[in-house]
Symmetry: C2
Subunit: 327 residues, 2 copies
Amino acid sequence: MRATIRDVAREAGVSIATVSRVMRESDGVRAATRERVLDAARTLEFVPSHLGRQLAERRHAANGIVFPDLSGPYYAEVVLGYESVAGELGRSVLILSTRGRDDAEAAVEAMAERCDGLVILGRTVSNRTVERLAARGANIVLVARPPVGGVDSVTARNRGSARALTEHLLDLGARRLVFVGDPSTSPDVGERLRGVREALVPRSEVVIHHVDHLDEQAGARLVGDYLTRALPDAFVCANDELALGMLRRLRAAGVDIPGRVMVTGWDDVMAAEYAGLTTVRQPMRDLGATAARLLDELISGARAHPRHEVLPTELVIRSTTLGKDTP
Amino acid sequence: MRATIRDVAREAGVSIATVSRVMRESDGVRAATRERVLDAARTLEFVPSHLGRQLAERRHAANGIVFPDLSGPYYAEVVLGYESVAGELGRSVLILSTRGRDDAEAAVEAMAERCDGLVILGRTVSNRTVERLAARGANIVLVARPPVGGVDSVTARNRGSARALTEHLLDLGARRLVFVGDPSTSPDVGERLRGVREALVPRSEVVIHHVDHLDEQAGARLVGDYLTRALPDAFVCANDELALGMLRRLRAAGVDIPGRVMVTGWDDVMAAEYAGLTTVRQPMRDLGATAARLLDELISGARAHPRHEVLPTELVIRSTTLGKDTP
DNA sequence: TTGAAAGCGCTAACAA
DNA sequence: TTGTTAGCGCTTTCAA
């Protein structure tokens, strides 16, 4: 059995209160006494129990982060940015992936019980759940999701860059665009579509091609629909994975890109560079880091009013819209 | 203030023990009583405190996982596989990234205090720390790292596939190989190099090109060294990112691949496919899932003797060793 | 500067 | 079937 505070107290010939003071480095303990306690702790290999401490302090010293998945580079980067800041702030990080979980909402609520606050990415849980948690007093920061009630949020600029991306396509002569992705799958995607629409000029148009999953398979699959009929001037994909999937099939079919059709993605994942994909880069790590800081302010009570941060994004032009096909 | 078990007991007119029984779904409570308690809990919005429960049960119901980084796809996938199994087993998952942390060892030891067991990936902490934790009674599973003492481990087959990969290169006529990566950075890399050596035939040779970081930048950088002098027949890279970085620079310099020089990676990340990179696929998600199961056995005390799992890997041949340069 | 004692919110052994 | 009570390991008044 591991040594407890009482064992140390006995060994050092002091009370448990004194041991507690020494271990917490609170002052008001004579140097000689402190030494005796530290000696005792060392010989007994005493390590204060987090469990006991947390119960007494009624705090977890841990934060949670909820995300749909970690396969794509996007969420992994966000989580990483989050972890690094949370770690610096002395908090442990609990993770929860809702992918393939039918009890996501319950799992998130359970998680909320185990930490002092949590970050929720994208469309992992319903607004109702967010509101219920907030009402219950949980500290919450939403990422890549529009604000709900008085809850903090951090998002990357979608509309403006989608507009810039679209203007780039229009400049190159594109008029018939197909937006690939479902605006209802994520708030981000909805905003991107809005940006595309805002950029339209007379005689240009955008058609939405709905897909359920924003992954390579879906992208590759939908190419078939277009090989038998007319191709648009450009495919504006909701994310890179979708675009990469399309690209592969289009190239395999010998379609000239960007000559015959242009393709764009969103995120600027690592593979995008190798595929020569024009896309929009998001500050993924910063999203996580910013969320961690906002959450810390909430937990430490340094701030009462909600904040909504919007981080900048950047258009990255490559060969799928400009230049020859080989990257 | 949130309701406690005592509030519910008072509201329902029973003792706290009964409330506890109902909340834990332990039987031996009359249906009518249970209903009264559940009603009271509902009206008071009572949610049992994990803190109190954990202290009483002296367990955390949480596992930790320690990794160097999450940027590459490799660790993200392992973590994902881990989280999904741990989640199913009803455990929360704590994460800790050692990247850019100078107090990694201390952070890991602190983490060990907050969970019932932990998984350690690669070379994140020293053997000494692993041994100290094990001696202290911590439940540990090592991933992508050779066994230490009586500690569980899970690794992917490195040597055999490295041998197969090398034989593939030799079959294509390669004789002068350069192994890129530092065997000392990770045990996996050391094993891969060993596999390469085992495959060598008379008049073939392998030279090691040491690099500190196994990322794209490092790969791109070291290409310069070879453009001014003779290229080998093949670059065998310790991972895909390194290979992708080299590939980009080599292609930019107009070097014919695989005609002039062949290139191979390891991991089969998403970008590898777009780059046409010959590589070895690892069951990344499975590594994490297997680790989670082993850890659960340790924690639940279902197993006493250490286990060492080795998962299969698969050679994936693409255009950087076979075929024309365009993927 | 130190100690005694009362919690923190729960579980679990024992008694009724 | 239910209640009483003693912890779990710590923090934190309040007194000395």
